[in-house]
Every structure is written in structure tokens, then in C-alpha cells.
Symmetry: C2
Subunit: 189 residues, 2 copies
DNA sequence: GGGTACATGTAATCAGTTACATGATTTA
DNA sequence: TAAATCATGTAACTGATTACATGTACCC
């Protein structure tokens, strides 16, 4: 790595106010805190590993979000002078503080169950039974495939703290997939 | 897998322009198909009844979305000349066709499980066990409350076709809440 | 007759997504 | 060396959310 251009930019420490923090923000902060300074591309790869299986972030967002966080003083950016002009983002103390605060706060936004299949099912009275049957079949297949995927992923985990966290999340993902699967199957009686 | 009408091309039917259809679109089309011509406010009320318990649409969207659909030729708009200048939206044949197509197509976009609590849990290795415990407690409470709410709603349903559809959806919502609840409890061993 | 909840709408903003574009490495 | 794939970045768009703003009816 080239010599980090220490303290690049004006960085007026106290002028980072209006910055709303979304799940994407915490994903970025968390990944950098865990793995050290990263490029957006590395974020993309890592995000696939952790929450990836059931919550996908488009790659463009992993370029723009670090930008935002840097503007807000939570990250610092270091840029390769030549070649690909890669940008590497570092966690700043303010970023670590925000992350710790989030981790320590037991409150979260409620999970909304936004499943297009359920929306469709809720309008089943406008269609015919045959439509519901076909929907249930397809959903059964889809959830079965996901379930298999999650189980396979869970098997590959070690018992580092990191993988332990991942295992927990995969555990509930599996439980929820099982619930979906059982439901759609029950519609096919 | 079923790609919605996002496909480009010289649309042989040649009616309206490219209009991307989101879940909000189908919610609006479906509610108007079921209950007849409606104002945005009525849409807001009805949306709370059907998918409302687990998928909330902000009211502003129920004003802008019918607009979009009307511009696309799927709805027609009728406006009160005086007073509140209420807008009432009617389903046009093209709208009914699009709705039927959607209902008949067993494919849907996959449901993503975007639960901020799980994101936080997936970063548990950056915090302490105490944080996880408190998170699990809170999530337990939250899911217990939701579960009770869903069950109460389910009890009030009749057996019209409409309510039958709603009952199915509430059934799976209950199952999923149970899965969440069991999971967070299991973390509190 | 004044407060407050219901009803209706627009405007501004933002997050998330798609699309476009290109540089660098590997591989056939 | 051509093609394919990985890696990197920006631009443009738009659906969704927040905030603003106002009208109407009801009830103490």
C-alpha cells in the first residue's frame, strides 16, 4: 500500500450532523470493523458471506454508502494515486462509536414480512383455486431449494466467533424457511 | 424466475408505455378490483385490512401509485369538481388484464428476509454476550406481541372468500412469528 | 367556538436499483 | 492475442418515505 495520505481533506471533525443510518450503513461499518480497511469490492464479497444469503445489497450501494459515511466523518477514505485508483475505507473513532452504540442498543426496527407471494395469496379471492394451487407448488419448490442452500452453508462453518454469529443467523433462516415450506405444503391438501 | 413485464420490446398489443409494476401496483389494482372504485384514502384503509398487519404502505404512496397506474392506462380517474376535489380511481379493462395475468402467474419475486435484528445478530462477534442477551429479550417481547395481534385478528374473520384469503395469510404470519419467537428464546438458554 | 381527530393532497428528499463504462487479470 | 471474467467506478432514474400543508367534520 502506498503511504496513507494521513488526514486528507479538510475533515472538520465537528461538522457531521445530518446523516441517517440505515441497515446498509451498519453493514459497512460492521464489516470494516471486523475485517479492517476495505475497498467497496471487498465489501461486496464479504456482504455475501454474512447476511448475503437472505439480504442482498446491490454493489453500487456498497460504493455510495461508504462515501456517505465518509462525508459524515465515520469513515476515512484513502485513494490509490495511480492505476485503478482504488478507494480503501478505514473506520474512524466516530464510526466505531456509532457501531458500538448500535450493537449495545437492544432496540431495532421491526422486521416487515414483505413477501410478494403472500400479497398474491391475499388476493386469491379474485382468481381461481387452480392459481392458488400452482402458486403453492412453486413456492414449495422455491423454499425447499433455499432450505437446502442454508443447510449446506451452515455445514461449512467453523467455530470462530464470526462463524458462530453466522450460524445463529442461519439457524433462524432455516426455521423460517421450514415454516414457509410447511405452510405452502398445507395448502396443497 | 417469472420476470414481470419488465421485458422490453415492441409490445405487440401496443397500448401504453413501459410501466413497471411493483407490489404497490398490484395492491392498488387488487383492492379496486375487489371493492370497486376507490379514493386514495379508502385504499389506505383497506390496505391496512388485508396485508396491513405485516406490510405497511405509507399513505403518500397510495396517492402517487394510482396516478402512475392511471397514466399507464390501467386505471381511470374521476375528480370531484368542487369541495375536497376527491379523486376516485376506476379499474380499466387493461388494469383487470394485468391483474389477472399476475394472479395467474405462479412466479413471484423471492421474499427477502430483511430483519434489522438479524443483521445486528450477525455482528454479535463485535459486541458482547450481554448485548445479545438483551437483544434476544427484546425480540422475544416484540414477536410475542405480534403473535398475539395476529391471532386476535384471525379470530375476527368470517368465511367469505375475502376473509378466507386473509385467514390463510394470517396463518403463515403466525407460523413465522412462532419460529422467530422460538429462536430468540433459544438464545436465552 | 376552539380543539382534535379524520381526510386529502403536494413537494422535497433519499435510498436503492438499473444501467452504463472501463480497467485489469486470467485463460484458452 | 482474443475472449472472458473479475474488479471498479459513475450516472441516471424512480419508488418509497418524510415532511409539509390544508380542508372538513365532530365533540366538548
Amino acid at each position: 500500500m502506498s503511504s496513507p495520505a494521513a488526514g486528507r481533506g479538510p475533515s472538520p471533525e465537528g461538522s457531521a450532523e445530518p446523516l441517517s443510518l440505515s441497515p446498509s450503513s451498519y453493514l459497512v461499518l460492521g464489516l470494516i470493523a471486523r475485517h479492517g480497511p476495505m475497498t467497496p469490492y471487498a465489501l461486496k464479497i464479504r456482504s455475501g458471506e454474512s447476511v448475503g444469503p437472505f439480504w442482498s445489497f446491490p454493489h453500487a450501494q456498497l460504493y455510495s454508502e461508504p462515501d456517505r459515511l465518509a462525508r459524515g466523518g465515520l469513515l476515512s477514505e484513502e485513494r490509490e494515486p495511480g492505476g485503478r485508483r482504488r478507494r480503501t475505507f478505514h473506520l474512524r473513532p466516530a464510526g466505531r462509536r456509532v457501531l458500538d452504540e448500535w450493537l449495545g442498543d437492544p432496540g431495532t426496527e421491526p422486521a416487515q414480512l414483505r413477501d410478494p407471494a403472500l400479497l398474491k395469496l391475499s388476493f386469491a379471492d379474485l382468481g381461481d383455486e387452480e392459481g392458488v394451487r400452482r402458486l403453492a407448488e412453486r413456492q414449495g419448490e422455491a423454499h425447499r431449494a433455499r432450505l437446502a442452500d442454508y443447510r449446506r452453508r451452515a455445514e461449512e462453518l467453523t467455530d470462530t466467533p464470526e462463524d458462530t454469529a453466522r450460524r445463529r443467523v442461519l439457524t433462524i433462516a432455516v426455521c423460517i424457511e421450514e415454516a414457509h415450506l410447511a405452510f405452502w405444503r398445507s395448502l396443497l391438501d
